[in-house]
Structures are given as C-alpha cells and as structure tokens.
C-alpha cells in the first residue's frame, strides 16, 4: 500500500528553472520564453563580465608582451579589420552559409526519413542502426576531399554533400531514439482505442521525438558550418570563407583571417539561435519552457 512515493505527479518545482547560465538565459529570452524579464541582467551579467574580462586580458597581454600580430593579433585590430573588410568577408560568409544550410537541410531531411524507416520496419532498424552509430563516431569530415572529387570541385554541391553527411547521422540516431523510446504505456493507451500504427506514429511517436530531433539539429547547426569551411580548405572557388581564411593565413595577414573567423562565429551563433526559435515555436508545451503559467 506504500505506493504514495511512486510519484506520478510530475511536480518538479517549476520555480527551480532559474537561468543560472547564459545559454539558458539566451533560450528564455526568445519569443515565447515566458515572462521572466527581471532575471535578464542577473542571468547575462556573469557571461558579459567574463567575456569582457577575457577580451581585455587578451588585449593587455598582446600589448604588454608585444606579441606579433601573425601569432595573435590584438582584439582591437581584429575588430578594425572586421570593419574594413566587411564587404568581402560577409559576401564570402554568405556563400559559405549557403553551402552549410544546403547540407543542413539535405542531411536533416534524409536523417528524419531514415529515422522514420527504422521505426516503421524492425529489419531496417536492425540493419541500419549499428552502422549509423558506428558512422557517427567516425571523423566524417575526412570525406571532404572525396566528395570534392565526386561532385565538381567548383560546385557548392561538393561542400553541401560533406555537410549533409555530417548532419545526417546525429539527426537520424537522435530522432530514431525519440521515435522508438516512447512510454510503452502511451502505446498501450492508444492500442486500447484500437489505434492504427500510423495513428500511434502521428499522435505519440512524432511529438515525443521532437525534443530529441531539435537537440540533434542544434548540434548539427554547428557541425554543418564546420563541415562547409573545412571542405573549402580542400579546394574550390575562392569567394568563400574557408579559402579566404586559408589564403590570409598563408600570407600571414592574420588579423584578416581572424576577422573572417569572427564572421563564421557570428553565423554559427545565429544559426543556433534560429533553430532554438523554431524549437520554441514548434513545442510550446515543452518542460524547458516552463517559465510560468501557460494556461
């Protein structure tokens, strides 16, 4: 009779979701992130201070010890070059972003389709999943010279292909996990209504997999940019970020290379934020959004 402690009520204290780190604060500051505006400064403060301190220290060290700019340029010099070359680096950044996004979309689409197939047919799951999990732990980026050979070196498709392969595995594995690892009792509940497998897929498995899917896409949003830039290092047109960084670095114009890296970083953070935004809009129910009463 002592089942009282089994705890069916998921009454985890909702007040405990205080934004204790900047990432959480970033997520909560997005539209739909609840009414917590007061904690904004408190949440962001430490991160802003830490960032400022690191930059200041960097600046001080390079000036005091007279570090050569080809080793480590001053932050102020990087910003100066970032402004001076902004026309070029943002245009090149755009070209790279297109490659990364193409790979992200293609890899995510294929990953989701593969995940659906593994859930639907046990044979596909047993045949494909071990391979996928193994492939996920292989440095796929090493494929870049090969896809450059498969597709035309001058075509952005060769870079998209690398990005797509890099994105595919985490998306597929995570989404499949979300589709498969549902609460068996939820499936039984639907079975008690004589629901079809398709209805169970749509009403239980897919909604359950959404958080898994989005956490994979968040990881993939960073991976696809890395893949595109590294693939560019192996050859192709010159009007892209990767080749620009490579060129400036080999000419020892390091502040310009750093300015281009700054563009890549901004794009990466922007992409991550965009995925967060879509996630927030797609899953208004999710516990991580439990900032207050939604009702």
């Amino acid at each position: 009779m002592n089942r009282a402690s089994d705890g069916i009520g998921r009454d985890e204290d909702i007040g405990e979701t205080h934004a204790t780190d900047a990432l959480t604060a970033f997520e909560e500051a997005l539209p739909g992130g609840g009414p917590r505006r007061v904690g904004w400064l408190r949440a962001y403060g430490p991160a802003v201070v830490a960032f400022a301190l690191v930059i200041a220290l960097w600046e001080a060290v390079t000036v005091v010890f007279n570090v050569q700019s080809f080793l480590l340029p001053r932050p102020s010099l990087i910003v100066e070059r970032f402004v001076a070359t902004s026309g070029v680096i943002w245009l090149y950044g755009w070209h790279t972003l297109i490659e990364a996004l193409g790979g992200l979309v293609a890899g995510t689409t294929l990953g989701v389709l593969a995940a659906l197939a593994t859930t639907r047919w046990a044979a596909v799951r047993e045949g494909l999943m071990p391979f996928a999990i193994a492939a996920n732990s292989v440095p796929i980026i090493a494929l870049a010279p090969i896809t450059n050979a498969w597709f035309s070196l001058s075509s952005p498709v060769s870079k998209m292909a690398v990005a797509a392969v890099v994105v595919f595995f985490p998306v597929m594995i995570n989404t499949a996990r979300g589709l498969i690892e549902v609460d068996p009792q939820e499936v039984e509940l639907l079975a008690s209504y004589a629901a079809s497998p398709r209805q169970i897929m749509r009403r239980v498995r897919v909604p359950h997999a959404l958080p898994y899917f989005f956490s994979a896409v968040k990881v993939a949003s960073a991976l696809c940019l890395i893949a595109a830039i590294v693939a560019e290092y192996f050859g192709g047109p010159d009007d892209v970020l990767g080749r620009y960084i490579l060129r400036q670095a080999s000419l020892l114009v390091l502040p310009d290379a750093w300015a281009a890296i700054l563009v890549a970083s901004i794009m990466g953070i922007g992409l991550y934020g965009a995925v967060l935004l879509v996630e927030r809009l797609a899953m208004p129910w999710h516990p991580s959004h439990r900032a207050g009463d939604v009702g």
Partner: protein, 260 residues
C-alpha cells in the same frame, strides 16, 4: 437480466514464457462473471495476477488457456469495437496536449464528431472544466488522474477498466477520488472493473470484491459488499463497512497463510 455478462471468464489461464525456459504461471483456472452496472474490485497480494486479469480483459495480453468474453465477444473484437475505457496507475497524459486535447484523444482516434463539446462535458463531469487549456504538468497528481478518467469515459464505453488508478495518490486525495468515481459511476451507469490492493478502497467502492491469491494467481473468494448506496462518509463509519473489511481481510489472510 437476459443481456450477456459484460465479462465472462471460464477456466482462464495465463502463462508468461520467461527467458531460459522458466515460464511464470500468472493465472490459473479463473472463473468470473461480471454483470452490467456492477462495480467489481480485484484485490490480492502483489503478483496475484490481478493486473494481468485486467489486461486480458483489455486484450493487451492474450490468454494461454480457457475462454474469455467481453460484452459477449472475443476480447480482441471488443477492443476493436472500443467497448472499454482504460485508466492506468499513472495518468499517462500526453505532455504536449492540453487537458482538453488529452480528453479529445480517443475521440480523435475514432474520428468522432463534436469532440470539443464532448471533452468539455467530460471535464465538467470530473469538475476540471476550468483547466481545459492547461498542460498536464500544471496539474496535481489527483487532477491528472481525473483527466485520465474523463478521457477513458469520453467515448461512452460500457466498461471502465482501472488498474490501481489511485495507487500513487495521498490518502486524502484518494478518498475524494473514490467519492468522485462513485458519483461518476452512478451518473454514467458504466460497469467498472477496479484493481487495487487497498482493502478499504475495494470495500468502499465495490458491489463485489474478488479476492485473489498468488502463485499461481487464482480467485479465492467473491464477496458481495451489500453496502447501501449512495456511499459517503457515513458509510466509512458504519458497522457494515468494518465488517466487510474484516471479511475481506480474513479471506486474504487465509490464503496468504496457506501459500507460505
């Protein structure tokens, strides 16, 4: 009554094939008849197969021997005909749906018309009308379980199967829920099969208490409570209530003692 019993079991048996050849006999020679409008509790020690019996009726597991009919049909047919509603120990609400949309779930699966009106009506029945737009995590355990009951009854099944539905609730909430369930049972005329391991709960709720013993699970006693309706706090204080509790307890002890 000329209508067939809602549940009829004859020499029903269930053996779970375990790994490495050690099969577990969960139920043996179960004979049971439940008539329309009854409230029947299955009570017994852990492992007596009371939940298994409920799941056999629900066609969530298949029997290994004997005959079982639900509403005069094969249980599989009864499930496809949506003859019963099920409530588990956990409310099992879908997190991504509001309370109202959770109650609408079976109606959606069955493609029923007028879902929103029906859901609203059901939520009023369990007195949660004002929480229709909330998400499950915003409700207490007791409220979640009331939503689960509203959902199970939303498509008007003639039979309600409940597997320890109040097992995880605190005593106060539990007694309120029992009262609530009896009111709903009166208002809807649904037949209820209720699994519990609380003797007072079984006696307070039921028209008939089925006492089971374990290893293998079998029915050892069938006790008609004979308490008058409506039941309320006075019932809980009555001599007849205590006498029936004692009767059930004695029946449980007798077979428990025989088993060990």
């Amino acid at each position: 009554m000329s209508a067939p019993p809602v549940v009829a079991a004859r020499s029903l048996g269930k053996i779970f094939a375990g790994g490495a050849g050690d099969a577990v006999e969960a139920l043996r020679e179960i004979d049971l008849e439940i008539d329309a409008g009854e409230f029947v509790s299955l009570i017994g020690p852990s492992g007596c197969g009371k939940s298994t019996l409920l799941r056999l009726i629900a066609d969530l597991v298949a029997p290994t021997s004997g005959r079982l009919e639900v509403n005069g049909k094969d249980p599989h047919r009864a499930r496809l005909d949506r003859d019963y509603g099920m409530v588990f120990q956990r409310a099992t609400l879908l997190d991504w749906r509001t309370v109202a949309r959770n109650v609408e779930l079976p109606l959606e699966i069955m493609d029923a018309a007028g879902r929103q009106d029906r859901a609203r009506h059901m939520l009023d029945l369990v007195q949660l009308g004002e929480f229709a737009g909330h998400y499950p995590w915003q409700l207490s355990g007791g409220m979640q379980q009331r939503v689960a009951i509203a959902r199970a009854l939303a498509f008007r099944p003639a039979l309600l199967l409940m597997d320890e539905p109040f097992g995880a609730l605190d005593e106060m909430t539990r007694e309120l829920m029992q009262q609530e369930l009896l009111r709903i049972w009166h208002e809807t005329g649904t037949t209820v099969v209720f699994v519990t391991h609380s003797i007072p709960e079984a006696v307070f709720l039921s028209t008939t208490v089925v006492v089971m013993s374990s290893r293998p699970g079998r029915i050892s006693d069938v006790i008609a409570t004979g308490l008058s309706h409506p039941r309320n706090e006075d019932t809980r204080a009555s001599q007849a209530y205590y006498d029936t509790i004692t009767e059930v307890r004695t029946a449980l002890r007798r077979h428990d003692g025989a088993a060990t």
